[in-house]
Symmetry: D2
């Protein structure tokens, strides 16, 4: 951490700061310039509160050198984390498809979709039982009943289930769920993060609509610091000035997070775009960029299409897309392999 | 609501849509152009899910004409809502100052600050007991103990207290709190909104970091639809590309919300700016723009400044600012009065 | 275009509006609801100024149904435009690589890089002679001399050259340039757009840092309306709240523009990311999303690395990447072919 | 400037960097930590290109301590710059009103508006002759003829004129203009900045739609570095995710720029909001925040309202607003005066 002092910093105030830092086992190197004095702080600065130091009268600015997350940090854990769920091994270089309806509507619906997506190569079933909706007048999901239907679909197909937890009070119903999803709107619901951090099952953590990579990793850190290291990160688009797409899918998140963290990274092209016609190109792009998995919405009943989101694919479209995604993934993997061999040959 | 059909919309699909709309008591006017057919939907469209209609194959685009919020909508409730808390009447044209420490640290601290801000003209005391922090390693607040200290300060000064609720499970401890604050990160924690909607006390609802006015009002609508109409909206800055200030204080929110809703509007210049030197000019601006109240952070102990945010003011600075704010508010009120008289004289 | 009237619109004002619209050959359909009257405008609304209508006292809102661009609009020109430059045919389904140094520094440098990128499969040479720099104290490019060096490299390798025009007064020096690049900062320099619209050579139009797709296409429309229909669009990242990457590469621009326009689309992963380690994954993603070409920065002299941007690749890295990009493009093309055949078989 | 080295930085590469820095008269202090080595660079770092250093293999990150602008920097020029135009002294603590039509349409129109705004207290006349329009099909302004009409209005009223220069080639027509305006879309048209930097008249520099404060000041620096130090900065709203207002008026720009620069700061509430009903509250807020002047759009002919923007005020509304603004400014000035006296009394 670097602290830049104001030109007129008083000696006694500076001494107060230095004493406080030493009491935290931080070593300080000073560098005195014509206009500014700069303090270089060495030690475990991840526990220092940057805002508190910035608050001091004598401080002009504070900048972090080291990332504030530790457990999620690739620097301290270079090997990729692999999260195993049923037959899926997310993070081991394979491509996992997680598919299913936006909202669970009936047992028939979710069982039918589960069979279809399994046949197409998906190894996990997603579906919303508790639905976060912007309007109090919109359908809020089937709740517990929806969870039952998901479990019925699992019993039928063997696909593990992923579904969103919106509130601590719903936790008892999630005992038998395979992966808990934390939605974008709850990415900084810190009590919820701590609670899922105490569970012994994987958590799929969606990026908040305006969360930086660092904030997102700090939310993963909340879960990990509470004891649960099985965290899967999910990019689902961020909010920008462009309104043509529902969100702006931040493809860079995939390679950047690969550098910053050892946690697996999946992407949700359905919510990122908000339009079914964009799901395929964004999914292809994510695979080419090196994603570990994709979460894709599939609906099955055109007659009831009014109850599906505009970003859902029909099963036959999903099946065709899944094939392309696996073949593209093979192709990209082969190219990466060649690059490695080339590197070794040199 | 306006529905724009694709050029090649099939007759049978269109009939399906029209039947469904009629079953919802919606009247439809068609307007057929060279390239597009446009449907004008008339009736109570606030209960139609815009995404569901947009999902239809035959639909190119859907646009709302009427706002999706009803209870919060000024069109259906032209008179301003006034929320009464102790001596404060928020929304009646007066200026309410809500002041106190960012975090509650000790009984002495919060009592001392409460006395100081009361002397300066504040009529409500704010203070954080449960603290939402980006890092799991940062101080998370004193929790229940913090609430006790706030109540002690209330007993001492008579100032009603405002403090943040982060999770449903904390609700039992908030029975004796005067105003429940919902923080920016929880603005779309819908279960929490429903829960505070069932309480019989005012709720101060902060704007989410990347929430539009409409989403913010929809969150207010959640609270109101659950039975609690005492909602105070609080602008606290939005996330933009500019990083010099912690957030970008959206001053336009004040006059725009005044047009859209009857709910009172306060502003938090401390969090919006993240710097004490900006609190005074932003507070002055908010008063000139017609705000109903201001929430301002005050700390009291320079020796422990490390525990206060960089945006907090010292009591003597707050006192001087409060005087200026009240005088500016008087001046602005007088100017508004003259305008009204002028209008009547014409 | 749809015009939503205020509830209290006066009859005489409405008649004034209707007369004015009729004088513009616009037919109007009215739809009268309980709270609003909606006018559906049918005819050539692309020449109506939406802001002027919105300014009227009686108008609550105006919404476009039809895009305001015509020449760039795929609806009126379904076949893709192919721009031919030397051996490159941009827009015909092939992948064009445009590579070269950020800044032209010397004849040796640019000739050496040109040879290297040609050997790697690039068919166009890029290089900056006139450089837009945020600071007046930064190197502003070699100017005319830089253009001479680029031409020397073209003479040596046969690669056509692409370089940025910053101002009308530089135009005489661009007579012999193959493709004129308009930079992000000049995307709405309308006099410059009109001027390149009068040239008889292709224009590569970069997206402005905060330009919507519609504004970008309107800038293309400026060039086309002035007579030059050879416009290549280039996505180079947009400005968002995320500061880890220099810009946020908007991968969705590729499939969305494919739907909106017939113009070819290339991407610049170097500027989008600002980091060499991100160039490869973003380039791979763009190819998978269906881009027509890529503009990539290559530098050649590690000893003078101080003069190259942090996003430049060394020639040997570019060569290896180019191979992967072509193979990935083949793979994606094959998958698309299969999909087409599958579609026909049905 | 602070340079953070990668953990595995090679000695020879580091020596290369150190030699290069010394050749630029930069002194370097090193601070070696467990994970990182940090270099503190002392000297005139404003001429170092931060991107070039960041490009080095051995560098993990570079952070500026000192602002990259010098002539615009308050640190090196603590006294406020006052720009004198006719009777207006912008930057001396007074409030200057700059008013006039969005577009110049006829001599009668602009003369009538000029008389009205002068009577209301404006001391400068604004009006667009060359108009930057998003669409090539929109009215592009009267050009030279428009300038003539503005000059006629000046002859009639004595008000100095402010009008926008869009391109270098128009410069000869601006000899007799009092203040040259550079629009938001041209804020980083660097050749245009250099050209107005060689003129001997004030320049009103609007903030770009997505420009940071630093980029904006760097554009001012371009003008100043070319010899013209009479620069007036104009906040006109930035682009964010909120679409209710045309732009988000960044009120914080006023107090932040006051700290960063000695240049005068004006605000344009008309373009910031895009709605006439928001002009008054935003103008009031800007005055309370300490702005030096306001640029406000006024139109005069309701019968031709179709040709005015939705954000224009009628003369009688402007007159009433101007009175309120001057009275609010007096009130705010008085409060500031009291604060100063209070400070001295202590």
């Amino acid at each position: 951490m670097i602290v830049i002092l104001k030109p007129n910093a008083k000696r006694e105030q500076l001494d107060g700061l230095l004493d406080w830092l030493h009491s935290k086992d931080i070593t300080v190197h000073s560098s005195v310039g014509a206009n500014h004095t700069i303090l270089g702080l060495v030690g475990d600065t991840s526990r220092l509160d940057i805002d508190l130091i910035a608050a001091l009268d004598i401080v002009e600015d504070v900048k972090r050198v080291q990332e504030p997350y530790k457990k999620a940090n690739r620097k301290f854990h270079p090997e990729p984390t692999v999260v195993t769920v049923g037959d899926a091994r997310i993070g081991d270089g394979s491509l996992t498809l997680i598919a299913g309806p936006c909202s669970v509507e009936s047992e028939e619906q979710v069982v039918a979709i589960a069979k279809a997506v399994k046949a197409a190569g998906a190894t996990m079933l997603r579906g919303g039982a508790f639905k976060p909706r912007t309007s109090p007048y919109s359908f809020q999901g089937l709740g517990e009943k929806g969870l039952e239907f998901l479990k019925a679909a699992r019993a039928e197909t063997g696909l593990p289930i992923v579904t969103e937890l919106m509130d601590l009070t719903q936790l008892p119903h999630f005992k038998d769920v395979d992966v808990i999803q934390i939605g974008a709107r709850n990415m900084q619901n810190f009590d919820l993060l701590k609670a899922v951090g105490r569970q012994e099952k994987p958590v799929l953590l969606k990026r908040g609509m305006s969360a930086t990579y660092e904030e997102w990793l700090m939310s993963a850190e909340y879960i990990m610091a509470s004891g649960n290291e099985q965290v899967i990160l999910c990019e689902r688009g961020i909010r920008t000035f462009e309104t043509n797409t529902r969100n702006t899918f931040d493809i860079s998140a995939i390679p950047v997070l690969r550098q910053l963290t050892h946690l697996p990274i999946v992407a949700d092209p359905s919510h990122a775009s908000g339009r079914s016609s964009l799901v395929a190109p964004l999914a292809m792009a994510a695979v080419a960029a090196g994603v570990d998995g994709l979460e894709i919405e599939v609906h099955n009943d055109p007659a009831h299409a009014l109850c599906d989101g505009p970003q859902s694919l029909r099963p036959e479209v999903f099946e065709s897309l899944a094939q392309k995604l696996f073949r593209l993934h093979d192709c990209a993997a082969e190219l990466a392999e060649d690059t490695r061999e080339e590197g070794q040959a040199k």
